[in-house]
Symmetry: C2
Subunit: 387 residues, 2 copies
């Protein structure tokens, strides 16, 4: 075995990145080094392939913008199953194979954490958009920041973006954005799938966004001695309470004493996507003393909360004039094709408007409940902060 | 679809972490949150499980310390395939399922980058060892550091560990260790599989190792305009040349101007595992003007290089006395069960000894060519640096 290993070590990496001349299909830029498949065409098709000579049935599936229903693949003489996905929407999509009924990731893809487990992903073409590309500009960093949470009694890991120059300009202080991920994902989602570091690097380099620190923490938390499984029904509300507690007692104090943060609520923002958007609304609207900027990406105020607007979120909407002065930005963003979320966001905004609460709105064209919606949201939202 | 998504978002995370009272098998601590399987017993057995009602044959396989040959699993009435792996060696092991001939990762596991693609992994019990655990000590950080490589013409990503206190003690300078990963892995391997940050956090907190900066870069590099596929035969040597070039022209200048590094060769070390060990020997031994400490984990000097010791590595062994004075530590580490590597390391050391070159040696008990060997190597090696 070890001799086999040795030859593997010596041979490894001699991968063949086969160029496919004259084909509109080229390996996706997001493939692992040297992987031929998936291949992408400029008009948003993807050719996928998996070797499975002994399988009886292989399909490819993924999120809404990839394909709404699984697509059957066909097998060639060498045992490769392949097929073409048409009409992908722009940007990042999760995808996977289904081999004889079992979900299988593509060995040619990075494994992104989505749906509660590692999942393959690719980037479809985004004509005219390079806001999320790694460009020739000064780059910030993303740090894995471990800290002990008194609320949960456990060590937790945050990902923290510090902008270019943070390490050199040691007397400069920065505003801070808390950026929350969605359900089934984790604290690495925003930097890996969402490419938030490149989005901010580019915006900051163009002078369109203020250099800022961004904290991305895990959206799940259980208080010491509690288990979600003890009471699943009560768990969601309880978990939200716990998460707010973690933000107030652990995350904000830890991050704002460690990093050189500008003091004061006008230098502090919170935003999130989907589950993280609901959480950002909960945390932000109950703590407008702390946050001057609130963003909900693919999220809204739901569940009858607005039936009693004067008591909602500890009465934050009771005095609209004061709210509008205090909360400098109350921002909703959605993808045009995620119709339920579009409706929810519009319903929230309508009710808020009736109260005299000012909101802002952005709709990402031709995207679903998926990362390109949220990358675009960040790209639209970040320039509005800390002005 | 979006309504389904919404209920997923609201329900997500209400996972059931079922406790198994009276069983010596408990969910592995390395499982994703709430996942029951794999389960581990204190004596190094693992129970694995995968739902695949329509599959005809399911096996579990992995590296040498996990199982030498694939193990057939058996199916229950609900379509779960399960089985037990016996006699695992301590520490981290890659593993995977084989479903009707296709390699399938465990959805209950983090996907670690190994064998050139995402691969499941678990930690077997390590009785009496907690050197790699996240302990209640001050923690350093691991940063994703993007930089432009003039040699390759591309942006590259390094992972950089800065020790606890680095951000606060802004006038302090630190020694630096360049730590290289193995074949089929990447720049994240040392911090994720290898838990190098916790190992160093613990050693530094105990006063056993000097606070140091550790740079972990990618071990693959192709010069501008070159492709490994152009000439696979010549590629290994050429790639090693290119990688040395990347270290000299890109990595060292970038890292040592960005981070507060102590100047001088006596504050600079290089080490690596397997392929990275061969690379560290190549880089270190051809640049003893830069490195005072050299470590080879599961690696050795091979391929007839020692047939002409006076010219090997630009003649670095020609004057043993000078070498021994200059290179303060020339360290080899292996796992006791990876016999080919044990032989290679001992052969190298014998030849070096005959020349009068001083080396050090460590053998990790009961481990193969795998991460626990290398985590232990780092744990032994780091305290010897920068004394």
């Amino acid at each position: 075995m070890t001799k086999k290993l040795l030859s593997f070590i010596l041979a490894c990496g001699l991968s063949t990145a086969i160029g496919l001349a004259q084909s509109p299909f080229t390996p996706a830029w997001s493939n692992l080094t040297g992987q031929e498949y998936p291949q992408i065409s400029p008009d948003g098709q993807a050719r996928v392939r998996l070797k499975a000579p002994d399988a009886r049935k292989v399909q490819v599936a993924g999120g809404d913008g990839f394909t709404k229903t699984p697509i059957d693949l066909t097998k060639d003489a060498e045992g490769y199953w392949s097929g073409t996905v048409s009409n992908m929407t722009p940007g990042f999509h999760y995808y996977w194979f289904i081999v004889d009924g079992v979900q299988v990731n593509d060995p040619a893809s990075v494994a992104y954490f989505g749906y509660g487990h590692p999942t393959s992903g690719l980037y479809a073409p985004t004509p005219g958009e390079d806001f999320y590309a790694c460009q020739n500009v000064p780059h910030g960093m993303v740090r894995e920041h471990w800290y002990f949470s008194e609320v949960t009694g456990q060590w937790r890991r945050a990902y923290v973006y510090t902008p270019a120059g943070y390490d050199q300009n040691t007397s400069e202080r920065y505003p801070i954005l808390y950026l929350l991920h969605g359900a089934g994902e984790n604290e690495r989602g925003w930097s890996l799938q969402g490419r938030m570091n490149f989005i901010l690097d580019n915006l900051i380099a163009e002078g369109k966004a203020a250099p800022m620190i961004v904290v991305m923490d895990n959206g799940y938390a259980e208080a010491r001695g509690e288990k979600a499984s003890d009471n699943p029904q009560a768990s969601l509300a309880r978990r939200t309470e716990t998460l707010i507690d973690v933000y107030m007692k652990d995350i904000l104090p830890t991050m704002e004493s460690f990093y050189r943060v500008k003091p004061g609520r006008e230098h502090r923002a919170i935003a999130g996507l989907s589950m993280g958007g609901f959480q950002a609304l909960n945390i932000g609207l109950t703590h407008t003393d702390l946050f001057a900027y609130i963003g909900a990406f693919s999220a809204a105020i739901i569940g009858g909360v607005m039936d009693n607007p004067s008591t909602a979120f500890n009465g934050v909407f009771a005095n609209p004039e004061e709210f509008n002065k205090k909360v400098r930005l109350f921002w909703f963003g959605v993808g045009s094709e995620e119709t339920t979320f579009v409706e929810m966001a519009n319903d929230s905004r309508k009710k808020l408007d009736e109260l005299g609460i000012r909101t802002s709105y952005y709709e990402s064209p031709n995207t679903y409940h998926e990362w390109h919606t949220w990358s675009r949201c960040l790209h639209e939202f970040a320039p509005l902060l800390f002005k």
